[in-house]
C-alpha cells in the first residue's frame, strides 16, 4: 500500500461534456496498476473485449471496471487519482485519427523500426556468444545475408496493452468533485461506508447482483475463496424497517449457497445528509456501521 501511495494508480472516469455527469463506471487501463491494487484487496472486473469476438468473462482484458466504492476507497486511502475523459469519446477518436493520421503513422513506423533494430542487434550478439561457447569462430560477415534473413523472420511485433491515444483525452480534475458525481450517479455514501467497514475487516467485495445483493464479500482473494456473505444495500439505521419477505428471500437463497445475508446501516447521529461528503469523511471517521447477518434456521 505504501508503494501505491507514492505512485497512485490512475482511474479514468468518463464524463459527459455539458452536464458534468459521469457516464461510465471508473476504469483502469494499466496492467501494472491492476496488479498493484489487487494486492491490496481491490479486484474490480475485467471488461475489455473486441466487438467482433466477445469473450467469456474469463478471457476478458483491460480496462478493469471498478465499483464506485472501490474507486473511492482507493482515492481516500491515497492509492489513486482520478482523471476525467470528456465524452463523446468515439467521435473524438475519429476526429483525432483524421486530423493527425500522418503524424501518428510516422510515429508508429519509427517505433517499429527502432524495435526491430534493437531486436536484431540483441539477436546477433546472442548468436555470436553462442558460437563462441561452442568454440566456433563467428563468420558473421560470410554468412551474413543468410543469418540476417533468419533473424528477420523471428522478429516480434509488440502489441501494447494501453493506447497512447488515451492521453489525448484525459485531464486531471479536482477529485472530490468527481467522487460526488460518481456517488450521485451510481451509489450512496451509506453504501460506501458499509464497503469501507467490510474492507477494514479484510473482506474483499465484488458486485452482488448474482446473489441478489449489493456486494458479495470474500474472506480473501476471490480466486482462492468462496464468498461468505451477500450484503444488502445500506438501510437507514433509524427509519427503514427490515422487509421480512426480502429477509426470507435473501437469507433462504444465501443459505442454499452457503452464504449469510448481511444487512447494515450507518449511525449518522444528528448529522445532516448534506454533511456526508468526501471532505467530511476524510476529516471525521466517527460514523459507526451496524451489521446483522441472517441465515435460515434449518426448520420452519
Amino acid at each position: 500500500m505504501d508503494g501505491l501511495k507514492q505512485k497512485p494508480v490512475e482511474i479514468k472516469v468518463f464524463v459527459s461534456e455539458d452536464a458534468n455527469e459521469v457516464i461510465l463506471s471508473p476504469l483502469i487501463f494499466d496492467i501494472a496498476s491492476i496488479e498493484a491494487i489487487r494486492k491490496i484487496g481491490i479486484t474490480g472486473t475485467l471488461s475489455g473485449t473486441l466487438p467482433l469476438a466477445t469473450q467469456q468473462n474469463l478471457f476478458l482484458s483491460v480496462p478493469l471496471k471498478l465499483m464506485v466504492e472501490e474507486a473511492i476507497w482507493l482515492y481516500i486511502n491515497g492509492c489513486a487519482k482520478f482523471s476525467v475523459m470528456n465524452g463523446p469519446i468515439s467521435s473524438r477518436f475519429s476526429e483525432l485519427l483524421d486530423s493527425q493520421s500522418e503524424q501518428l503513422e510516422q510515429e508508429s513506423k519509427l517505433r517499429l523500426q527502432k524495435s526491430f533494430e534493437l531486436q536484431k542487434k540483441y539477436k546477433q550478439e546472442q548468436h555470436i556468444l553462442k558460437m563462441k561457447k561452442l568454440g566456433i569462430e563467428s563468420r558473421i560477415d560470410k554468412g551474413a545475408s543468410e543469418s540476417n534473413a533468419l533473424i528477420e523472420s523471428s522478429l516480434f511485433v509488440r502489441t501494447s496493452d494501453t493506447s497512447d491515444l488515451m492521453n489525448h483525452f484525459s485531464n486531471q480534475q479536482i477529485s472530490g468533485k468527481i467522487i460526488n458525481y460518481l456517488v450521485a450517479n451510481y451509489s450512496s455514501w451509506d453504501n460506501y461506508l458499509l464497503f469501507q467497514s467490510l474492507r477494514e475487516q479484510n473482506y474483499i467485495m465484488s458486485p452482488g447482483a448474482r446473489f441478489g445483493g449489493k456486494y458479495i464479500a470474500y474472506p480473501g482473494d476471490p480466486l482462492n475463496y468462496h464468498s461468505h456473505m451477500t450484503v444488502r444495500n445500506a438501510l437507514d439505521y433509524y427509519n427503514e424497517p427490515i422487509d421480512m419477505l426480502e429477509l426470507a428471500c435473501g437469507a433462504r437463497l444465501g443459505t442454499t449457497v452457503k452464504k449469510l445475508w448481511v444487512i447494515g446501516g450507518v449511525k449518522h447521529g444528528n448529522r445532516e445528509k448534506s454533511d456526508r461528503t468526501v471532505q467530511n469523511l476524510l476529516l471525521n471517521k466517527e460514523d459507526d456501521v451496524s451489521f446483522f447477518s441472517v441465515e435460515w434456521a434449518g426448520f420452519g
Binding site: H228, E240, S293, W296
Partner: protein, 124 residues
Amino acid sequence: MSVDRDSIEWLVQTNLLHFQKWKNVEVQDRSLSWKDRKIKLLKGSPPQSSSEDNLDENGTIEEYILPVSLSQYNEQYLTLECLDEVYKQLCDPFTERLLLAIVNDDGTIVFYYIYKGIHGPGKV
C-alpha cells in the same frame, strides 16, 4: 406464567413446543417498549444440538427467540436501531444470535437466525 392466547408470543411458543419439538420455551419477563409496542423475547432449547455456540454448563443450548408478525414490517417496526436495542436490553451481553420467528396470518411461522455483526457461514 399465563400467556395471552391472541399474542404472537403464544403462537410462537406453541409452534416451537409442539411442532418443532423444542423444550422449555418460555416468554421472558423483560420487555422493551418500541413505537407503541412491547417487544418480548422467548427463550428455549432446540431438540438436538445443531451447533455448539450457545452450550451452557449443562450441555444444553438456549436460544433467544424474537417473534415478529409479517404484517408489522411495513409499520416502521423492526429497524436496525430496534435490533440493536433488543440485543442491548433483552439479551445477555454475550448473546451472539437471535432466532427470528416470522409469523404469517395463515399460521405459517418461519425461523431465521440473526447474528450480531458480520458472521461467516459455519462448518457444514
